[in-house]
Symmetry: C2
Subunit: 221 residues, 2 copies
């Protein structure tokens, strides 16, 4: 992953901690917040893959709401419209992982893009709330192509919008399958493995693995 001309980051799980909703979920259902957050996230991803394969795309806001409702039903957590509104609002103010701001500052001087399943209506407040509007140079949403990751058309969107050939793009994701999808597309793909998880066995591996974004500046310079 030597000196990419541009860096493209996944948003949810990579820059932003999707499990920062656990705090609010724990207020709403004491002792059940972590469980709800895990299941919500798992269903959210599952629904992106299933809708993509079924050719029944809906935007990530809809998928995220649907996954939240199903997760609450499956865990038998009582669910009101107030719960729903507060948790969906929390998704627009997710925490940045602690090392992200400094790492991005050290990486500046080249295009730093987000390429996300999120819809523009979700990504814009998220990036603004985190104070990254002046740091991230391009915010790219799959809504432009109407299908979710890891369909290759999503990764092609970054090539088209950045005007940089795929082999000169460094792609960074904490979702192992996303890094592998990007690697198959032709990016130099780095997996951010904060949890020390085993690699996904999808027949191919990411080009690089780091423990956090703090390791990225050394990797790409």
């Amino acid at each position: 992953m030597s000196r990419p001309a541009a860096l493209v980051f996944d948003a949810y799980g990579t820059l932003f901690d999707v499990h920062s909703v656990t705090r609010l979920a724990d207020e709403l259902w004491p002792g059940r917040g972590a469980e709800l957050s895990q299941r919500w996230r798992a269903k959210q991803l599952e629904y992106t893959w299933l809708r993509s394969l079924m050719r029944q795309h809906a935007d990530f806001g809809r998928v995220t709401e649907d996954a939240l409702r199903q997760a609450c039903e499956a865990l038998a957590l009582p669910f009101t419209e107030d719960h729903h509104r507060r948790l969906m609002d929390a998704y627009l103010r997710l925490d940045l992982f602690s090392e992200v701001r400094e790492a991005l500052a050290r990486l500046a001087g080249r295009p730093l893009a987000i390429l996300s399943n999120g819809s523009p209506a979700m990504l814009e407040p998220l990036v603004a709330h985190a104070g990254l509007a002046g740091v991230i140079t391009h915010v790219l949403s799959v809504e432009s192509v109407g299908i979710f990751k890891p369909d290759p058309r999503v990764y092609q969107l970054a090539v088209d919008r950045l005007g940089v050939p795929r082999e000169a793009i460094g792609f960074v994701s904490s979702n192992c399958w996303d890094a592998i999808g990007a690697q198959r597309f032709g990016f130099s793909a780095c997996w951010v493995n904060r949890a020390g998880a085993p690699v996904d066995r999808l027949g191919f591996e990411p080009d690089a693995v780091v423990g956090s974004l703090a390791d990225l500046p050394a990797l790409v310079s």
Copy 2:
């Protein structure tokens, strides 16, 4: 779901209990069998969806092995080639759910097909071991189209092979997402909800829901 000309069944989870591997897994890792079985199955499905979207198809035997290894790694279960061989062998001799044999006997007299993610090398011994070779009239594998469910090309395979129009096919799956995928394709789709789980929120619902295959003969006659 009135009087379908042919019935098409999912195999894994619908006719055959994928969690019958729990017994052997519990012998190999006492007290951890159920956990391993759940994670193995979840990763197996996840890898079918991801490989399909990445356009990196591999047959279901490979995917099932890869998912088993990853599940063992994630759960820190020590894993030898002997464990691997025995669990993969167990996948060729999964239990039928208890009501299946009698239900299929009552449904005879029309084409009764299996349409499965499984490869022919996995499905043939599975059907033979269960003594269903004379009952199931067609065993159809996604290997003919090189992509997994719920891609519409998989459901089209049943139309092509059975020579029955899609609207005259009744499709039966205990995987809610599979029933919904089939419904979107144009089959009359029945979800077998043995566990009383909440419906998957994918924007559409199956045409019918039953608690087990024992309810199917009344539904289609």
